[in-house]
Symmetry: C3
Subunit: 141 residues, 3 copies
Amino acid sequence: MIKLQTQHIEFSTKGNTQLVDITEKVQHVIDQSEFTEGNVTLFAIGSTTGISTVEYEPGLVHHDVAEMYHKIAPYGISYHHNQTWGDDNGAAHLRSTLTGSSLVIPFLHQKLILGTWQQIIFIDFDTRPRTRKVIVQILGK
Amino acid sequence: MIKLQTQHIEFSTKGNTQLVDITEKVQHVIDQSEFTEGNVTLFAIGSTTGISTVEYEPGLVHHDVAEMYHKIAPYGISYHHNQTWGDDNGAAHLRSTLTGSSLVIPFLHQKLILGTWQQIIFIDFDTRPRTRKVIVQILGK
Amino acid sequence: MIKLQTQHIEFSTKGNTQLVDITEKVQHVIDQSEFTEGNVTLFAIGSTTGISTVEYEPGLVHHDVAEMYHKIAPYGISYHHNQTWGDDNGAAHLRSTLTGSSLVIPFLHQKLILGTWQQIIFIDFDTRPRTRKVIVQILGK
């Protein structure tokens, strides 16, 4: 019998393309539930955020990923978005649209199916600290 | 009791990285249904399209997003794809593969869970006007 | 009555941004099942992989897609990731994070709903041959 559960996790971020490892938080939601097999839909609330996976090691997390995004949409240059709102976070919006804000991950025997070196990350692209919310919705049995 | 509904929405596009706000169309499918909690899987039919989210304001929508994609895969230059088919839309295919054509969004109390400044966009990367179809599939109760 | 099935497909890859067309393998899982309507969640195990769609023709598959990724995150240059592990695959991790490792595709009448020129691809960004696993999870009826 397939069931559904909709919750969210919440946490503080520093922004500036900070990568937050949310793997344990998501696994914890499954642990606290009675689901053993199914999938979890993660959806990041906000238009300056992203969700993806990465090998969560310092080189990628603190340097390489941010440098890649810097090539694609640098902070600190002029965007039309900044002119519309007087904001300074046009780059954050562009990075978000390209990265995507939803991810669906299967689980089996109550454990997320991930590679050994594959962690789930929430990326805060905004230019200031925020409190962020990610929907964690489970479909399964 | 979990149920399933598979429909689609259809609309005309101009191409050239036009961003179409489909938030209301998707919400309307939920409004017309009896689902109150679950998720909606959006899937864009076609290999020159993308689905993502954005703050739908003129600066991003009419300028910044297109300029970002122009850096990654410019229109109007030579691609091997163009040589295979005599097409001119190699850039459109590349942008599509990078952006992704599926998005899963949870809803609760019959309302899509989105940020205040976060809209769902269909992007038509092709180089000419098209009629486009997006699958809107609901799983929930 | 909604049901759930979790399986995987496995195959050998050459790496170096090889695009593997997995459309038939995924359709085969549906063919072998009793599901007629629903969706299939694909999840690529590993942090140097990606899943997306493309028109699977030689120009894009053997040249253009790799050239786009080369602009974004070139192989063969120095990354902090490489210094952490003595690895040489920093570029592969970056391409994976940007591309995404999950995709959800609806099916109806037991057939994946895809465009005529739209195939499902697994991308192996790693710098050496691997054996790869993709979770194929079906929710539907």
